[in-house]
């Protein structure tokens, strides 16, 4: 019963994103890469937050595991990107499986605290295991993947390596978002929403709630890992603060800001948060103060986030247009 006459927003967004290096400056490509990767990270969190009703305070753990995995493989072992990136998703999924096994046994705030505890353990390991992770200093000089073949593409030939990498990021993120979208629109996705709405009732329609939560947790972890793998390369280095709780709260803020009730809410949240951050920090050093104010207003006036507010606005417009 979906409305087929709607604009293909997804396709338009991808086309617009691919055009950024051609029309914008180097700075805009940089910002757009950041936005695309964090949009994937936030959307992966929303599989838990918005669809399953699980609040994770430790989602950065899987982002970080992915970043370290790809970074280590590409820098130390010279593994090609085509293997090193999927490895990030796989290893993050394994971590999510192990941690999730324990987390889904708890509910509500206890679940949240346990996700945080596991994430901080991962952070502590990354921070101290000097031989492998580089410890506090992190792991700089992660190489770009070999994208020389893109110079032969007629429209991308004249671009820089960072622009080439950006195009790769856009394609991978678009693909990952498409898969996530399919997941939330699958029968499995519908069952997740019943768990969000009423876990007790879900048990009584025959849903194995814990097992569904665990599968969702592993999937969310895997996509966060992919985002982390992409980010480490973009950032030209992987550092322990990728795993720190502040990173987990940043992605939580993006998701809530954009609206966790909509599939693209978190992506919009990532866009708005990063652009605002860039703009406002050029005027004032009190960015956290501004962010806090924005969040307070949003939570009270538009609890559905930016996309939630837009959806309400669009519905009103349509109704008044009809009247």
């Amino acid at each position: 019963m979906t409305d087929r006459r709607r604009l293909p927003w997804g396709v338009l967004a991808v086309v617009a994103a691919l055009a950024v290096p051609a029309v914008g400056s180097r700075f805009y490509t940089f910002l757009a890469t950041d936005v695309a990767i964090l949009a994937l990270f936030a959307t992966s969190l929303n599989l838990l937050l918005g669809y399953t009703g699980l609040v994770s305070f430790g989602h950065a753990a899987y982002f970080g595991v992915g970043a370290y995995t790809t970074g280590l493989l590409m820098k130390q072992l010279a593994v090609p990107f085509l293997l090193a990136l999927p490895a990030a998703g796989v290893l993050a999924a394994v971590f999510a499986l192990v941690f999730g096994f324990f987390c889904v046994r708890l509910t509500k705030i206890y679940f949240a605290m346990l996700t945080l505890a596991f994430a901080q353990i991962v952070w502590a390991i990354c921070f101290k295991w000097n031989d492998v992770t580089g410890g506090e200093q992190g792991m700089p000089d992660i190489p770009y993947p070999d994208l020389a073949w893109m110079e032969r593409l007629p429209w991308a030939g004249s671009l820089r390596t960072s622009d080439h990498y950006y195009l790769v990021v856009v394609v991978i993120v678009a693909l990952a978002l498409w898969i996530l979208r399919r997941i939330v629109e699958s029968p499995f996705g519908r069952i997740l929403t019943t768990i969000r709405e009423n876990p007790e009732r879900a048990e009584f329609i025959g849903v194995n709630v814990r097992r569904h939560e665990l599968v969702a947790f592993v999937l969310a972890g895997a996509f966060a890992g992919l985002a982390g793998g992409l980010f480490g390369i973009f950032n030209r280095g992987v550092f322990p603060d990728f795993v720190y709780w502040a990173k987990s709260s940043e992605v939580l803020i993006m998701t809530i800001l954009g609206g966790m009730g909509h599939f693209y809410g978190p992506a919009v949240g990532a866009l708005v948060l990063l652009v605002l951050n860039q703009q406002i920090t050029s005027y004032t050093e009190y960015w956290p103060f501004v962010l806090g104010t924005i969040l307070i207003v949003l939570l009270f006036v538009f609890p559905g986030g930016i996309v939630g507010a837009l959806a309400v606005g669009a519905r009103r417009l349509r109704r008044s247009a009809r009247a």
Binding site: M1, S186, F188, G189, E200, F204, G206, V207, H212
Partner: protein, 245 residues
């Protein structure tokens, strides 16, 4: 069909259910009555696996289901509704029933399919039979209390149970809603050949449809039998019916 043997459950030393036995035969309509705090809901929770009994057995269709989780018990053919209305409030009426069908038909881990029109006809058929077909697209949380209770019945039916456990199906309803709901339950039970066990506070309802009544008082069975027998039982009159003048 259902055989409950000497189940017990104590919470912090308070014996909520103290050794209750109960049998419901296939096709029967049985009721559990008793004053507030008699242990009716706890007994239901013990039967459906929500709470594990301290002692005793629950046997469903010859199979020991004691201590199984609710989703396993549900899959074995026991459907349950709750005293406080228990639906998925931010999903549409259609989605509520469709989700129950997905869970029951074991498609819950299907990540590749499309949910859109899955089991559309079956979902609409159930909505038709509970009288909510016209509200299929409405968000269920904004329906009237009576409609939500009906929807809950629809969710229960979607798991195609043989045995229906309804905890106060008419709680909080007006007299008209109560009458309509009871007619609906009686019709569905008949049409689908279900066995029904329900708790109820409205005596008129109980005596109008139940074939067998069990009276609980302070966690124990004080009387059991056909409506007429129960009605004339002196103990029942003293502790329960007598209280209502």
């Amino acid at each position: 069909m259902l055989d409950v043997r000497e189940v017990r459950k104590a919470f912090d030393g308070f014996a909520a259910v103290g050794g209750v036995s109960l049998r419901v035969d296939r096709g029967q309509i049985a009721a559990i009555i008793g004053p507030n705090g008699a242990g009716k809901t706890t007994l239901f929770n013990l039967i459906t696996g929500h709470v594990r009994p301290d002692a005793g057995r629950v046997v469903l269709n010859g199979r020991d289901v004691t201590g199984l989780s609710p989703h396993d018990v549900c899959r074995l053919g026991m459907g349950r509704s709750f005293q406080r209305t228990n639906i998925f409030p931010r999903l549409t009426v259609f989605d509520n029933v469709q989700a129950a069908l997905i869970a029951h038909r074991r498609r819950g881990f299907d990540l590749l399919g499309r949910v859109g029109a899955l089991y559309r006809d079956d979902t609409l058929a159930i909505l038709q039979s509970i009288g909510l077909a016209e509200k299929a697209g409405d968000v269920s949380g904004v329906l009237s209390h009576g409609n939500q209770k009906q929807l809950e019945l629809g969710i229960v039916l979607a798991s195609e149970p043989d045995l229906l456990l309804l905890d106060e199906p008419t709680a909080g309803m007006s007299a008209t809603e109560t009458r309509e709901t009871i007619q609906l339950i009686a019709r569905l039970t008949r049409e689908r050949g279900l066995t029904l066990l329900f708790t109820e506070h409205d005596m008129e309802v109980v005596f109008s449809i139940a074939q067998r009544i069990t009276v609980l008082h302070q966690g124990r069975v004080i009387a059991e039998g056909a409506p007429a027998e129960v009605r004339s039982d002196p103990e029942v009159r003293r502790v329960y019916l007598g209280e209502r003048r």
